[in-house]
């Protein structure tokens, strides 16, 4: 069964200015990601994979091209519209977890829900569900400094999924973890994709991590190669 495309990218280009020099990063990229897909973007350092992820997640703006997520052209949105759009549609998982150190695991996961109309009681239910999915029910009142790297990343994933976003973007989510903790995180992402049908875009330079995805695409010097379907 062919699922509709949740991400549609057309003729996307992005360059950075370094002093007087313009450095092209992405060069006329077009591709689609079907809903419920688990895509790994691989490439060497400086290949533009994180830039592409940032553009898809709406935290950066392209020079040219169109990005449609769930039918919405996010390149046409203003900064404040983009902020609202991100809150409703994107779940972020970062390499260094990016948890707020003065908030407990529970409070960190609750953060995205503060931008919704949910009541305090409803928020509590959502947060507890997300944390229990991540196996962190017993750790929800701990601060990030009291958790291991793997646990912190699981809190970050709980924060990413708690508001039920359209897409989940993960930028080197295992880059700061040992092999066991990394596998744990990759299994979690796989489960979220398989069991909850979450569309996941994973950026990694680790081929082992990329094996968790269903599709791997390589990016090199701003150009995307063909799909490599793993399963």
């Amino acid at each position: 069964m062919n699922l509709p495309n949740i991400v549609e990218i057309k003729n996307l280009s992005k360059s950075y200015r370094r002093g007087e020099q313009i450095v092209p990063v992405l060069n006329d990229i077009s591709f689609d990601i079907p809903e419920g897909e688990f895509l790994a973007l691989m490439g060497p350092s400086g290949s533009g994979k994180s830039t592409l992820l940032n553009l898809i997640a709406g935290i950066d703006k392209p020079d040219r091209g169109e990005i449609r997520i769930g039918g919405v052209d996010i390149t046409a949105l203003s900064e404040s519209q983009l902020a609202d759009w991100r809150a409703a549609n994107v779940g972020f998982v970062f390499q260094f977890y990016n948890l707020i150190p003065v908030l407990t695991a529970f409070e960190n996961v609750e953060l995205p829900l503060l931008l919704t109309r949910l009541s305090g009681k409803q928020r509590k239910q959502h947060v507890e569900t997300a944390l229990s999915m991540m196996g962190l029910s017993e750790r929800m009142h701990h601060y990030p400094s009291e958790l291991s790297g793997g646990e912190q990343q699981r809190v970050a994933i709980a924060r990413a999924v708690v508001s039920d976003p359209t897409i989940l973007v993960a930028d080197e989510p295992t880059g700061d973890l040992d092999r066991v903790a990394a596998d744990d995180i990759l299994n979690l992402l796989g489960r979220l994709n398989r069991e909850l049908g979450k569309t996941i875009i994973l950026v990694t330079h680790d081929s082992h991590a990329a094996q968790s995805a269903r599709i791997i695409r390589h990016l090199d010097k701003g150009v995307l190669d063909a799909n490599k379907v793993l399963t």
Binding site: A83, E107, E110, L111
Partner: protein, 385 residues
């Protein structure tokens, strides 16, 4: 609620840094309040004046006196409700460092014109009946531990000789700003003594205190008094009691201006310290702000976080500084003795201190907020690790 929680936890994240910043604000607000109180104390004489009183003095200088005979002529001028007179005595109690103001007054009329000096009726009666009696203010009594019945010896400087007075009453001020550091005794006792010792100096007064029926006619009554004595041997200068007191303040205006400037410089310095702290804090949290923005929190939320933290530190420091101002000002006032007639922390000073603390907090947050709101999410996220 969530925002407040985050603000306070952020404020306490670096306890040493926050503690040192707080200490700086406490000291700055305390010093600011103390200096403002010193300035206010300087103006206290003018602030405690009545619009219904005029002061008539010799037009040439206060050093020169006026004939006693002027009193009845002033009394007859339309608009005058009452007239009294006083002489600056300038005596020394044991040592010159024990300075306090002493006045020889025409007691019954003087006390009528100064209802803000609250004196028990029996003490007033005892004072009026005792030619060598004196009344003193509560502050002065506390300073030297004097009580009713004590004899106070004074060495005359302007009026030579050894004088002694028996304290017959201790007056309280009707208001906090009322001067209770003064020493009053009978002008007639002084005058009788002068008649015997230096007759040519007898029957002269230092100033006339003129009570008027309508304060709004002060200028006309003053003019009329001065016109009455125009071309006489001792021409007069009449002005409101406030203008008279301010003429003393003006003599030290340069010092007051310097104190005022220093008080504001202190606030500017702590503002710079606070701004540096907040800038450092915001720079360290660039990745957190980027994360919050990525999650969908808009720049106004970041502004509330940064302003909230800055204001929380500034207001807490300000509150402690204000609280410390009272005992410190009290101790300072006591140490200064009678140098300041009135020395208390006014509510205006407290309001100014609070406003200064708020201003410090608000201004310190402007630049970090501006930077945090402008930082690109992708750039901010790169700051981590």
């Amino acid at each position: 609620m969530y925002l407040l929680k985050l603000v306070f936890r952020n404020a306490l994240r670096h306890k040493l840094r926050t503690g040192l910043t707080l200490l700086g604000i406490v000291v700055a607000i305390l010093a600011f309040g103390l200096l403002r109180t010193v300035v206010n104390a300087w103006y206290a004489g003018a602030e405690s004046t009545s619009a219904a009183r005029l002061i008539t003095r010799n037009a040439i200088s206060l050093v020169f006196q006026l004939p006693l005979t002027y009193q009845e002529r002033i009394r007859k001028i339309p608009g005058v409700a009452g007239v009294s007179h006083a002489n600056w005595f300038g005596g020394v109690y044991i040592s010159a460092k024990n300075f306090f103001p002493q006045f020889a007054i025409e007691a019954p009329t003087y006390l009528d014109l100064y209802p803000e000096y609250i004196l028990p009726e029996e003490e007033k009666k005892a004072f009026l009946l005792d030619r060598k009696g004196a009344i003193i203010g509560k502050k002065l009594a506390d300073q030297f531990g004097w009580k009713v019945g004590d004899v106070v010896p004074l060495r005359g400087t302007i009026f030579p000789g050894n004088w002694s007075f028996t304290i017959r009453g201790i007056y309280h001020g009707a208001e906090q700003k009322t001067d209770t550091s003064q020493f009053f005794f009978h002008w007639y006792y002084l005058n009788e003594t002068l008649k015997r010792t230096i007759p040519r100096r007898a029957n002269y007064v230092g100033v006339y205190i003129v009570g008027i029926t309508h304060p709004e006619h002060a200028a006309e009554v003053s003019q009329e008094i001065d016109n009455t004595f125009k071309n006489s041997l001792a021409e007069t200068l009449t002005e409101t009691e406030k203008a008279f007191q301010l003429s003393f303040v003006e003599m030290t205006e340069a010092i007051l201006v310097a104190i005022q400037i220093v008080s504001f410089v202190i606030i500017v310095i702590i503002m710079a310290v606070m701004a540096n702290t907040m800038a450092m804090t915001a720079r360290e949290r660039a990745a957190e702000y980027a994360t919050l923005k990525a999650l969908g929190f808009a720049p106004p939320f970041l502004a509330k976080l940064i302003f909230g933290e800055s204001l929380a530190i500034a207001v807490l420091g300000g509150a402690v500084g204000i609280a410390c101002t009272f005992p410190v000002a009290n101790a300072f006032g006591n140490a200064m003795g009678a140098l300041f007639k009135v020395f208390y922390v006014s509510w205006q000073t407290v309001a100014t201190q609070l406003a200064a603390a708020l201003l410090v907090g608000a201004i310190a947050a402007i630049l970090p907020t501006w930077r945090a709101s402008r930082v690109k999410i992708a750039d901010g996220l790169r700051n981590i690790g």
